[in-house]
Symmetry: C2
Subunit: 165 residues, 2 copies
DNA sequence: AGACAAAATGTTACATTGTTGCAATTCTTT
DNA sequence: AAAGAATTGCAACAATGTAACATTTTGTCT
């Protein structure tokens, strides 16, 4: 059996995850010439600090808890920037956002969402994604963005029967 | 080149589509022992009459236009029934519902959504869906529901050259 | 540095989408 | 017909997302 995706591993050093993600984002934006402003950084940080996808209003709350007063339009604008730059992904089935650990504008994504604990793992686009796009192409459909959201049970929740960490 | 999915074919007899879908739903519910009440039938009909996915409030409007006064909670309950019975699907990326022409509780679905005209085609679950589920399983994730939503251009819109909403 | 233009953020108000809780009705079963 | 379950109606509300415009910050040019 292969190793579980990082997001499903309990007990990892999440502060380190957040730290690494922020650094990667800073480097990425410098390379791209885009501006990861303090606000955008705080929003990205809030998203990363959570183990589960955060809704826009939850991000508001998280920032308020850190002493920042930020209102919805500002959050949505920051999220738009972050998503356009491939730093966060929107989980359509949950109206929530999760950090992406492979910065860069992604049009395709595959996610495993645990229905018990809410954790999300992002899988790299693989062969079957290519095959799907080819299949669509054979039907004369030009796929520009393909999102796969699988809901189920992660190993820990399937074993424990609990509802997560 | 294979044939385009029915939903992308212009000029088909859509009244017939709706009629057939309603009949199939009636048969399906009779077989399953579930109750396709007049209200649920009207909601299903409204969904089918539209070529593009309809939001819950658009369904309200459509029913009002047909002289039926129905409020959101009622719509959502009807949609819940219809979705549980595999008669409609919710497009998460659009907060909207589309009719399913293969009644039965589906946990998996693959959709091609044209960003220009909004038409949606449902593809049958195929090999690559199975492969994805197997891939998730190899990661110790038990996928119970897999939804693939591909946004792009259908043949007609690609030919027309517009880029849509 | 100073002035200007562009980008980003703040703020108010509002639009859309979805839910809760309870009352009234309808259907099924006995 | 009567009891119980399922369905629908309804009012109020919660959650999510956006438009429009004011203000501030940043980058660039002289």
């Amino acid at each position: 059996m292969r190793q579980a995706p990082a997001a499903f591993q309990r007990g990892h050093d999440h502060d380190q995850c957040v730290h690494d993600a922020l650094n990667a984002a800073i480097v990425h934006c410098r390379q791209e010439g885009t501006r990861l402003t303090p606000l955008r950084r705080k929003v990205l940080q809030a998203v990363w600090r959570s183990h589960v996808p955060l809704g826009a209003y939850e991000i508001c709350d998280a920032l308020v808890a850190h002493g920042e007063r930020v209102l919805p339009p500002t959050i949505y604008r920051a999220l738009e920037f972050l998503e356009n730059n491939g730093l966060v992904h929107r989980m359509a089935s949950r109206n929530a956002f999760i950090g992406c650990n492979q910065p860069g504008a992604h049009h395709h994504g595959r996610y495993l969402i645990c229905s018990a604990c809410g954790l999300v793992a992002e899988l790299p686009a693989g062969d079957n994604m290519d095959r799907f796009i080819a299949e669509a192409h054979a039907l004369n459909f030009e796929a520009r963005s393909v999102r796969v959201e699988a809901v189920g049970l992660c190993a820990a929740c399937a074993a424990g029967g609990d509802s997560g960490p």
